[in-house]
Subunit: 268 residues, 3 copies
């Protein structure tokens, strides 16, 4: 993975302003919409069964995020996901809190089965819980680094024929035998709510412009990690980090990506 290709995607997002349809949790609706706008995409949030199919018809990617879930939202996610599949636009699943409650674990499995997302993006605990049907997620935070979930992620990737993107101190993106590790980001990012959800939303924007899900997922994680690093340089705490992050997503350029990118790719 090279900086040049990440930058190509950023340019495409800024030029095309792809519409990213999010069915996501209440906590992050505002912050993920702002992140998508800052990078240059066009977010729309819509969750009603009566309109999701129509809204998906306008979108270039669909992001399903199961935080603050309830039954009627699962139904809407399935309707939207099937519409996305039939239109051939990419669906990204963020299994927030999978492993913490059976409502969330079961909803994630149902979406995996019926919608077949091209990318699953979660933290170590969530990915582990989906792959192994065990392990406990503590609320919505991970008790496991991405590396602890690496083999589980690979199993999930093979079983579901999709890309699995695991966030952590090191982000790990896996498809079949391909592994990309990204060592960008900053510890203070874990003190801002919903940056994992932001990663998923940005993954939707990248998948809207890049037809290769492995690349799209890795580019999104690298971009967010790099932007977070730059944002943290002038941050006095998580409040200013969050604000700086939006500013950096809006202004980031090729040189900054070049200077900060730390990644490695392997095929086993």
């Amino acid at each position: 993975m090279v900086a040049e290709k990440i930058w190509d995607d950023v340019k495409k997002i800024r030029l095309q302003a792809p519409l990213v349809h999010n069915i996501t949790n209440y906590v992050v609706m505002n912050s993920t919409a702002n992140a998508l706008l800052a990078i240059g995409a066009a977010p729309v949030m819509a969750h009603s069964r009566e309109e999701v199919e129509e809204m998906v018809g306008l979108a270039s990617a669909l992001v399903l995020n199961i935080g603050t879930l309830s039954s009627s939202w699962i139904e809407a996610m399935l309707i939207a996901g099937r519409a996305a599949k039939s239109r051939g636009i990419p669906t990204i699943l963020d299994p927030v809190g999978a492993g913490a409650t059976s409502l969330r674990t079961n909803a994630a499995h149902k979406i995996l089965k019926e919608v077949r997302p091209v990318i699953i993006r979660g933290n170590g605990s969530e990915i582990y819980a989906l792959a192994r049907a065990e392990g406990v997620t503590r609320g919505v935070d991970s008790t496991m680094g991405a590396e602890g979930a690496q083999e589980a992620a690979r199993e999930l990737s093979v079983e579901r024929t999709c890309t699995v993107s695991v966030s952590g101190e090191t982000d790990i993106i896996i498809r079949d035998k391909h592994t990309i590790k990204i060592r960008n980001g900053h510890p203070m990012m874990a003190r801002v709510t919903g940056l994992g959800c932001t990663a998923s939303a940005l993954t939707g924007a990248f998948a809207a412009v890049n037809p290769d899900p492995l690349e799209a997922a890795a580019h999104a994680m690298a971009l967010l990690g790099i932007a977070g690093e730059i944002a943290a340089q002038n941050a006095d705490g998580p409040g200013s980090l969050q604000q700086n992050l939006l500013d950096v997503l809006y202004t980031i350029d090729k040189n900054q990506i070049d200077d900060h990118l730390q990644c490695e790719s392997n095929v086993s």
Copy 2:
């Protein structure tokens, strides 16, 4: 329209702290409440059928915003809107995403018919879709400037006997033969989610203290545009713009309004 009269309204809002009842979308609840507090109004968000009528009974204006809509919310909006009409307090409709899905277009028409809002405040695509029953809104973003929707706005104003406030690079506020154009604002404002919704919420605050809907709508758009311009002067991106905007709404004074206001009024 003169700066003096905008300032009169701002002083009244700060003095009276009118309660503005918002039934609005999940994405902007926090940011619009903060904008209302910053300008000096008192926001309340309440959407349950069981309490909206009672809450409207305490309020000085009602803002109905159809982003992230679902059926039970439409019902609550109609109950609240009828209560506002019977109490004689102004209702403002923001038809977010009208034209993008039939759920939203139909809900907006139903509210127009049954509630008779004194002000409709939307972007060009939304206003066009409501007036002409055609055109497509791309998600919640406009594909049409306010000027492209000017004649549609006039038709809507005449048909619904209300003021129509269209946001865009130039904001256009229309009632019958009256036209006010405002050329304030900053392009970066489009990269902060929900500033259109903020415009509608502020319109509610102005309508609560100014009985002339044309003036109230125009003053709100001018104030927000001016505050956005000032906020952008020291902004490094949309993150700092959003924060600065709240600071400016809180501190804005008569001189700043005087210095920045760019508008023209016509009667055809």
Copy 3:
């Protein structure tokens, strides 16, 4: 109450990162999650009847906040509250808007009766309305200072055998014959939406690490007031105040608490 003991609790929160389960209103979900993360706790928001019991099983405290209420949420709050009671973890009730509508007043009473929260944290109007079954809350803002509600708070404390924490220019925390008054905070804090809700969320974090509800409630109010004071020193308005507040919650140390704390305790 001494600074040393507040600081002990802050250290425990940072070390233990207690999971605080919030069933709260849409307006503040993001901002209260960020405040909890900034102080070092782990927030989770979950409201579905199907999962709240399971989620409470992972948590160290439960915060019930009745802003933006609807019927299905009341039911979820009762299920979660009963689970918290049976597990022996503390429940905090924030009766947002009690007294403004009967839906909210009745829901608060039902929660008081069936869940028996260890701490009720509200503004003067809300506490008065719950104790006296009269008075009118204007939307979600108080029309009464904490001191006007002091005797009502004491009655409520005795009647419900709980700690009552009333926010205002002076915060008053009462349990039976104990009274703690805290004179920290800054007037501009009232111009940021949901800082009352943030107070309740932080109270949950303190109650998770301190078994004495009177202390936990008072420490949370003091900490937030002090952080708000410090945040206001460099704030140009409510936008920067909110950002600074998160930064200060993240960085606050023993000396700052020592320097700013203004409180008095009495036993009558």
